[in-house]
């Protein structure tokens, strides 16, 4: 913890904007709670037979002309993507926590590729070479003044002091990258096991461009994002957006394999205007092991809405630095245990229980964290 005034101001504003907005969304659209319940059921169904669903997803992706891969750990995930990409390419990235988790951007750069984050917050994180401070608002800790300086330093352009002008400079810079990129990499909010489709939800429009403009689209995501079918996968996107406070979401993208058309005698052929290749990389990296554990399995239900962060008294005072990046806050304290075997962040939980109260997936987060504390005392942890 520091006496970081920027953080205190930023988080206070974030809380004041986000919390009433989510309450309002849920009051105005009561069906969302129902959908959240269904998503939990769908995810539990997959987790209770995970290997079967991984298999089913891989087959479904191949059936629609895509390629699917299973990566056991971060190293394998990097290698798989590295082989598809090669070197000397220009790559645009849609914000993906799994890409961050496996260290993808830096790895691809080390293979002599030019890589650009396209989510504005994530681009700022890239410019500053800092870890993200919130799962949906990675640069929440930066003030406008700081961002202006960063852009001046990295792009040699002074955007001025206005929010709009800062966004405009970034937009112009990124637009040129989108149009000339060889490869677009995104994550996935949900993967439909029956159709092999991935579902992505966003507001900026960068994910649409990343997944459609370059000739190759790679999606990298965790195996826990699989849902039994496309119906449930779409529900997941709606629920994620609602509990993140941005409802209705500006865009929901469904991608099922490479671009295609059926306009010539109704024969479906590929490619059309969008990418000619689609690759899905399903990453394990500790998830299947966590799934074997009755308590830790709950963590895999997280849909990354970031709601628990804003309701957590500890996250609010900890400067965005609670948990191993990109996983922060209450969910991050759980996920640090899942993917990095780091149980130490759990010790900072005060069991206030607000997170459990607001989690759309009804994850008993304090219980999981208590369990991880116990693991810390019995197994030790990385320091």
């Amino acid at each position: 913890m520091s006496n970081n005034k920027d953080w205190d101001i930023a988080i206070k504003r974030g809380v004041e904007h986000n919390i009433p907005r989510v309450f309002k969304v849920l009051r105005e659209h009561p069906y969302l709670e129902d959908l959240a319940r269904k998503v939990r059921e769908g995810k539990l169904e997959v987790l209770s037979n995970l290997d079967h669903y991984i298999d089913m997803t891989i087959k479904a992706v191949e059936k629609i002309g895509g390629k699917a891969y299973f990566a056991e750990n971060a190293e394998q995930a990097r290698e798989i993507v590295g082989k598809i990409v090669g070197s000397k390419k220009r790559i645009v990235l849609g914000k993906s926590m799994v890409a961050y988790e496996v260290g993808l951007r830096k790895y691809l750069q080390s293979l002599d590729n030019e890589v650009w984050e396209t989510d504005l917050g994530e681009l700022l994180i890239q410019f500053a070479d800092e870890p993200p401070s919130h799962i949906i608002a990675p640069a929440v800790h930066m003030t406008r003044e700081r961002i202006r300086e960063l852009i001046k330093e990295k792009l040699n352009i002074d955007p001025g002091d206005k929010h709009e002008d800062i966004v405009k400079v970034a937009r112009e810079f990124l637009r040129q990258k989108f149009l000339t990129a060889d490869i677009g990499i995104t994550g996935a909010n949900a993967v439909a096991a029956d159709s092999g489709s991935i579902v992505l939800v966003e507001n900026e429009g960068n994910i649409r461009m990343t997944s459609v403009v370059p000739p190759v689209h790679i999606s990298i995501t965790g195996v826990e994002k699989i849902l039994p079918n496309l119906e449930y996968a779409l529900y997941e996107a709606l629920v994620q957006a609602a509990y993140a406070g941005l409802y209705p979401p500006t865009y929901i993208n469904v991608t099922s394999g490479p671009s295609s058309t059926g306009d010539v005698e109704q024969k479906r052929v590929s490619p059309a205007h969008g990418p000619k290749e689609f690759h899905l990389v399903l990453v394990d990296n500790g998830r299947r092991k966590a799934n074997e554990d009755n308590v830790l399995r709950e963590a895999l239900l997280c849909i990354r809405c970031g709601r628990c962060h804003f309701h957590c008294p500890v996250y609010r005072v900890l400067d965005g630095k609670w948990g191993d990046p990109p996983y922060s806050g209450p969910m991050g304290a759980m996920w640090s245990g899942v993917v990095y075997n780091d149980y130490k962040p759990s010790l900072m939980c005060t069991h206030a229980g607000n997170c459990r109260e607001v989690c759309p997936m009804k994850i008993n987060i304090p219980k999981v964290l208590e369990y991880l504390k116990h693991k810390y005392y019995t197994n030790g942890t990385k320091q």
């Binding site: 500890v314 005060t350 206030a352 504390k373 116990h374």
Partner: protein, 297 residues
């Protein structure tokens, strides 16, 4: 952020004191029951017992302990001095004693028959809160034996931490035949006055399902409560920071300051129902326990 040496020290010393003497640090056990002196309450064996878990009595002392913990942890061999210190260390806490006496009056006035123990043990809550579950299980067994040996069928609790701890102990020992009730569930016709904002205990509100029960007792007493959806809602009312104090004092204090600020924006007088919330919040805001503002004839 977390000091391993400190954690190990807490684990070692707290467990040692608990296992040897039912107290988490070197304090004379009589501090737990001195509230009952002169009150004419039954002592010893009985089916219904008022169990304070020593929370009110130790909360302030615990806070001081949290302050000196880091230096204690670095003072090798401190454990050896424990039994010596204990013989002398008898802190008096008039506020805690008054609160507990008031609770006993309220129960008596509501027609509840109960006894208390002069050798009352501490609840073990610190082990549970820090997640030291193996040690907690060990101590839990000791506590269950303590109660079983005295033929207890019903335990009345007075604070959320003891209540929740007993609830977890029962979960670990399903064959333990005991009914755990809180005094808020038993008292009738409590009278008080004034306007306050209520700071919910996380455990009462979100873990024990007692949010409404407590509010009803308070409002039924004549007190007016100011509410604000962003500050006193079930999902928005924040922790006082107490449970983090032993492992990170700075974070704990900052949580307390934030909470106090938010409460002050709703009303300047804060009502609460937990000795640890009081210990953490009272340096920053005018705070009162419900049991100290209640009228006793």
């Amino acid at each position: 952020m977390i000091d391993n040496e400190l954690l190990n020290f807490i684990k070692r010393t707290v467990t040692k004191f608990l296992m040897e003497d039912y107290m988490p640090f070197p304090v004379n056990r009589s501090v737990c029951s001195e509230w009952a002196n002169g009150m004419n309450i039954k002592k010893g064996l009985s089916e219904v017992v008022l169990f304070t878990g020593c929370s009110y009595q130790l909360a302030e002392l615990g806070k001081k302990f949290d302050d000196i913990l880091p230096s204690l942890a670095r003072f090798k061999g401190i454990e050896r001095f424990s039994s010596f210190a204990k013989a002398f260390y008898k802190p008096r806490n008039e506020r805690a004693n008054k609160i507990l006496r008031n609770i006993a009056y309220l129960l008596k006035n509501s027609g509840v028959d109960f006894s208390y123990y002069e050798d009352e043990p501490y609840s073990g809550t610190i082990l549970l809160e820090l997640g030291m579950l193996d040690e907690f299980k060990q101590y839990a067994e000791k506590l269950v034996n303590f109660f079983v040996a005295r033929g207890v069928k019903k335990i009345i609790t007075v604070d959320p931490h003891t209540h929740y701890t007993l609830y977890r102990i029962k979960e670990l020992n399903p064959s333990w035949n005991v009914n755990i009730v809180n005094y808020y569930e038993l008292i009738k016709g409590a009278k008080a006055e004034g306007t306050y904002v209520f700071h919910d205990s996380c455990l009462y509100s979100r873990f024990l399902g007692m949010r409404d029960t407590i509010r009803e007792v308070i409002k039924g007493s004549g007190i007016e409560l100011k509410e604000d959806e962003m500050v006193t809602g079930k999902e928005t009312s924040m922790c006082c920071g107490g449970p983090l104090a032993p492992i990170n004092k700075d974070v704990s204090d900052k949580i307390a300051r934030n909470r106090a600020e938010a409460l002050k924006n709703v009303h300047n007088k804060v009502l609460l129902a937990c000795p640890f919330c009081y210990a953490n919040l009272s340096p920053y805001v005018e705070a009162y326990d419900f049991a100290e503002v209640v009228k006793i004839e």
